[in-house]
Amino acid sequence: MGTDLLLPVVVLFAVLVAGVYLVQVFDGIVASALSGIPARDHWLAPLRRGAWLWLQQDITTEHPDALNWRLAPMVYFTLAALGMAVIPWAGQVVAADLSTGIVLWGSVEALATVVIFLHGWSANAVFPLLGAYRYVALGLSYILISMFVLIGVALPAESLKITYVVLSQQELWNVVRQPLGLPLFLIVGLGIAFWGPLNFADSADLAGGTAAEVSGPHRLLWTVARSAMLVAFSAVAAATFLGGWLGPWLPGLVWMVLKMLLVLAALLLLGRVLARPAPERFLTFAWVVLLPLAFLDLVWAGLEAL
């Protein structure tokens, strides 16, 4: 029992920590490639920024909901870790091989909405509050799309267990078999980590939104937690659409990590080349265009599985 439990948990946290660091590094590389401003050192930059935030004073607002103000980033980070707990890193290496892994990921998305709302609400300041309410509308809309898409991948696997979803892709990866799935799921990923064009919670027009009043270690944790959510999402996407650990020559874990990095790179690139739509516009788009597309994806997956 000892090693069965220890190995996957160690792998999980190693991937999480390394992933968070790599998200920051990649994002810096993408940013300087796009803006044409060479940065000094991409690999040290996140550590330097982290050191600065770690040493900075942590200010609260005048009368915050102090408990939730502290708790929200912690829980957001924990949700990301829990989402990764159901991900198989290689054939047998999985922390919690729940028979309802896909549903667990769905509830991570739903709880993330609550936590992001709480983070904005508890500051008791105008911009965080606007960011929080804005996120709720969008966060709730992503959930349905994500459910449709993930039920689509569960059909050929005949199970909600992510290990079986990976195994069902032995002949053909879901990204080919269900061509609409991954693009839709990537939108969900940008959404729940409120990254780039779907950064509705911490947007520039709100001077940082829910993070506008946050400084010091608190901001460090919030940034880390957002990156962690992106990492967790990329793990789910790699397992459900890119065949997880399956692949020739290399060990399963290496394949899994490579696929995660691919998804991360795509997300980070998308995050910096697309403009943030007005939230209302995107809400309508999500329900009127994306939801029917997700429905279509499910029908496609269903017909294909029979």
């Binding site: 909901d65 549903v103 769905g106 509830s107 739903a110 709880l111 609550v114 309410y133 709720v136 959930i143």
Partner: protein, 202 residues
């Protein structure tokens, strides 16, 4: 006592304490999410009981539901963050009496009833059997649930949609007065005043 027992007792305490705090906090947002915490603890207990689907589905559903409830509670309540303390308890004596009575009945059931002792077969896959049930005996119930949910959706749209294909939904309706014989509440409607009409024609 095994780890599972210890976890059960901790979860039970969390469920009860957070459920009680729902009524003792002044903030609507805190009240909603304390209730969510209580449900999460119950969901985790369901996981301990082996109901893997229902437990996690409870997290899922309750997260969304409590989030929406928080939106509405903040919108409806004066003083939603409880900046000024208030009493959230109404008719406490009756409530306490009813609560104690229900607790005693349930506790008696728990202590004295004979529960079957056969545990679930280890090969049972609850999700799969639930799926078979939906496609088998319970199909009619399942499809009726679909119709009921459709009715819910239409009701929601009719009641809460402010504008539709045929224009704003409050056109031609006037809210009742706040006191008997008082003028209708809400902003005066100009075209009605101009036509000299009161409530006729509605």
């Amino acid at each position: 006592m095994t780890v599972a027992d210890a976890v059960f007792y901790i979860l039970a305490v969390i469920a009860i304490v957070s459920g009680w705090r729902v009524f003792r906090t002044d903030s609507m947002v805190r009240a909603s999410f304390l209730l969510l915490l209580s449900f999460i603890a119950v969901g985790a207990i369901m996981l301990l009981l082996g109901a893997e689907y229902l437990g996690i589905a409870l997290f899922f559903m309750m997260a969304v539901e409590m989030m929406v409830m928080a939106l509405f509670m903040v919108m409806f309540m004066m003083n939603p963050a409880g900046l000024n303390p208030m009493n959230m308890v109404h008719q406490p004596r009756v409530a306490i009496g009813a609560g104690v009575a229900v607790f005693l009945v349930l506790a008696a059931v728990a202590l004295f009833a004979q529960f079957p002792r056969n545990s679930a077969p280890s090969a049972l896959d609850p999700v799969r059997s639930l799926g078979r049930e939906l496609l088998g005996d319970s199909m009619l119930i399942f499809e009726s649930a679909g119709v009921a949910l459709l009715a819910t959706m239409i009701g929601v749209v009719v009641l809460s949609g402010a504008g539709g294909r045929f224009g704003a939904s409050d056109v031609g309706s006037r809210p009742p007065g706040l006191t008997p014989d008082a003028a209708p509440a809400g902003p005066p409607e100009q075209e009605e005043a101009a036509s000299g009409g009161g409530h006729h024609g509605h």
